[in-house]
């Protein structure tokens, strides 16, 4: 019983979990707070689209993901069904 417990305990070490959680979190936080790029892009993209389509400012998300080799710029714009007509 006590031997079994020793094994299960050593299998569940917490430091690797801490390390992994931090790496994921900080990759995300560095991308969003590291520069104002996403905020600027968001504003300008919103302005361009709003010229042609009526849309809600909250429905535009801009995300930059970075890893060692590539950066991915992800733009997600949600356009309501009747927006094109309304504009």
């Amino acid at each position: 019983m006590s031997i079994l417990r020793l094994f299960t305990r050593s299998a569940r070490r917490s430091a690797p979990a801490a390390r992994e959680r931090l790496q994921v979190l900080l990759a995300h936080e560095r991308a969003s707070t590291g520069s104002d790029l996403t905020a600027i892009l968001r504003e300008e993209i919103l302005a361009v689209i709003a010229k042609h389509v009526q849309l809600d400012g909250d429905r535009v998300t801009v995300k930059v993901d970075r890893d060692e080799n590539v950066s991915i710029l992800e733009i997600d714009v949600e356009i309501p069904l009747d927006a094109a007509r309304a504009a």
């Binding site: 050593s10 931090l22 900080l26």
Partner: protein
């Protein structure tokens, strides 16, 4: 011209004030002229940790406002001739600090001292940004614990964007001071290891301060740990860190990692 160091962390309670006092004293023990400056206006503690709490007459805010001259506010350490303290004000808040005022005081201190060590308040607001604003070198104090590492990462981002050096396109020199480290727990896998933290924050290591009762004992007595018990493990680690700050190349030792063959075998098994 002296060098300006900011001791910062984002998170509170990780050992900024303890480290400011210990590094300041360690540098002064090398006969260098050192001024330690408390930027934690409203919650000053550097005076208490250094045992000068009953000698405070004027403070940083008084000097900024022109109510006192810098030499009147500086408190000379009773044990070390070359160590001086500029205390923070306890009755005001961080808004009493102005950018121009801080610049003038730091500029003046740099003329007289080899080292000006600024003890930053916790947080990322005005007090912390003004403490790092004029720094040449940053010491980022971090505990091997998730919230402290995250906050240090945030502070590193600010050091690279909100300081004068960064705004002038220069590189801010940053060093990691890992405090409250317990090598046994790290070895067991229950605490982030030195290498984990270094890999995540990717700034060079200044030193590893072991978790130790000597640190609390020193603050109880109002003495930097390098003075209260110079032979203790944390004091030795601070001496090493101070030598690195002064430009010496000293290999980093992980405190308490001298285990016998039995410990090594056991450590392997657990890992």
């Amino acid at each position: 011209m002296g060098k300006v160091i900011v001791v910062t962390s984002g998170k509170g309670g990780v050992g900024k004030t303890t480290s400011t006092a210990a590094l300041g004293a360690a540098l002064a023990q090398r006969n260098e002229k050192v001024a330690v400056v408390d930027f934690d206006v409203g919650l000053r503690n550097l005076d208490l940790v250094m045992g000068a709490e009953r000698r405070v007459v004027y403070d940083l805010v008084n000097v900024i406002n022109g109510d006192a001259k810098l030499p009147q506010a500086l408190i000379r350490d009773k044990r070390l001739d070359t160590l001086f303290l500029l205390p923070a004000s306890q009755t005001r808040d961080k808004d009493a600090l102005t950018e121009e005022g801080v610049e003038r005081v730091i500029g003046e201190l740099k003329k007289y001292f080899d080292w000006v060590i600024c003890d930053s308040p916790a947080g990322i607001e005005k007090g912390a940004t003004l403490a790092m604003r004029h720094a040449d070198v940053a010491v980022v104090v971090t505990n091997p614990e998730v919230s402290s590492v995250r906050d240090s990462d945030r502070i590193i981002g600010m050091l690279d964007s909100k300081t004068l050096k960064a705004e002038n396109g220069e590189r801010m020199e940053k060093h990691l001071l890992l405090t409250r480290y317990d090598s046994l727990r790290a070895e067991r896998g229950d605490m982030l290891k030195v290498d984990d933290v270094l890999e995540i924050l990717s700034i060079p290591l200044l030193g590893i301060i072991p978790e130790s009762t000597d640190v609390l004992k020193a603050s109880n007595l109002g003495a930097p740990v390098t003075l209260s018990d110079a032979r203790s493990a944390p004091a030795q680690a601070y001496f090493e860190a101070a030598r690195r700050l002064a430009g010496e190349i000293v290999p980093v030792t992980v405190p308490g990692e001298k285990r016998g063959i039995f410990g090594k075998l056991f450590g392997r098994k657990a890992a």
